[in-house]
Symmetry: C2
Subunit: 262 residues, 2 copies
Amino acid sequence: MAGTDKTKAEIQAAIQDPMQPAIILVRPQLGQNIGTACRAMLNNGLTDLRLVQPRDGWPNEDAVKAASGAVAVTENAQIFDSLEDALHDIQHAYATTARSRDMIKPVVTGENCAKEIRQKASQNGRCALVFGPERTGLNNDDLTLVDTLVTIPLNPAFSSLNLAQAVLLVGHEWYKLGLDHVEDRKLVKGKAEFATKETLLHFFEHLEQQLDLAGFYPTEEKRPTMVRNIRNLFQRMDITHQEVQTLHGVISSLSGRRKGEE
Amino acid sequence: MAGTDKTKAEIQAAIQDPMQPAIILVRPQLGQNIGTACRAMLNNGLTDLRLVQPRDGWPNEDAVKAASGAVAVTENAQIFDSLEDALHDIQHAYATTARSRDMIKPVVTGENCAKEIRQKASQNGRCALVFGPERTGLNNDDLTLVDTLVTIPLNPAFSSLNLAQAVLLVGHEWYKLGLDHVEDRKLVKGKAEFATKETLLHFFEHLEQQLDLAGFYPTEEKRPTMVRNIRNLFQRMDITHQEVQTLHGVISSLSGRRKGEE
């Protein structure tokens, strides 16, 4: 996957966003799952990892291995004895949970959760995303500590996600909101220069001249429409200067061959 | 992660969306990666999997195991000898790739790719999302066959995703667009009934009466503002009938104790 082009300073600024939500993993079991969650965090510029009673302790070799170089996350992870402690500086906590257990809590989608976090951050409100243990999820005491539940809309017939995927989806909603407007439909062109209109028109003239010679147009009346249609076709291509030269060659070659055949 | 509540018919309809994009994995290597990609697909209602020359053949035991029950995908996977063949019925192909290799192709974000796929589907245009082999990605011949490149905006300092995560992020953008407006900030309330205004006002009267008896209000002048502030506080709670009864008990208990102390 390609990232967007940014300067090193912008990258650092993104990573060090002081108002980013903390990611709190409560009693996570497998080190591998912590590691892949770390990757998903750093993919989305999140570095504030808090672990509450990780089953296999910390640091965890499996986690570091699975994190594949997301050291900005693994090396700064903080360990807490309880979710209360992990939330000490947090103003609003969101929990992803598969079961609502009849708790009276507001529920938001991942996308709207991300919007709320950005909005609260703009008012200096620090947020956390809380994720439960792999199999059991958060217990009722954990859930009582959070303010809002997050539900990610998924195929109701197959809605289970692993820890890293849940972190990835919510984290990505947050990350996307921090981007400047991403330019779209921009062509990847490397060092290539798009053809100027002059170059393009010169090509059209070459093509049409050869088509005339080849007797392409059935009648003089139909010629203008056919010319327009062909010009529009090439116009749509967002063609580069080099590609126009290639097409000149194609036409010269084809018309030369036909001359030879005739 | 909780899914949204839907009927079985709606679930089937979502899964069988005939205009869903095909997911084409070109020369995938590890069965496990194919399996986790299958899960990510089914999470988002995608079932049209096409495999081009999977390294270890098909069916693949590791893939089925990693798919954790996403049989709607694994059992219907189609195998092709070439990307050309896999694209036979596709009108518009999108490729996710980390390297643009100076190809002249339009580039869209995952989100806008999903919008385009939905829009083309509404005009009966079938689309495919093409993913390359784990290590090398798509080669130039593969890329020449696709129309548009997809780039997922991620932390530029750490932007690599595994196959399943790439499928998950783009697939989820597509899935979300197919949902009806998801109701948000709805409270999870199970069978609980929210308190009526009558119940709530009755509670306020009980509380205020006890506060009067306890000499809570410093002056009669300050009383109305203090009453309003306290009423607003409880009003914000979106309280249930049962919770109001609990609060009645709390007040009776507290005022009873204070009387005893005095």
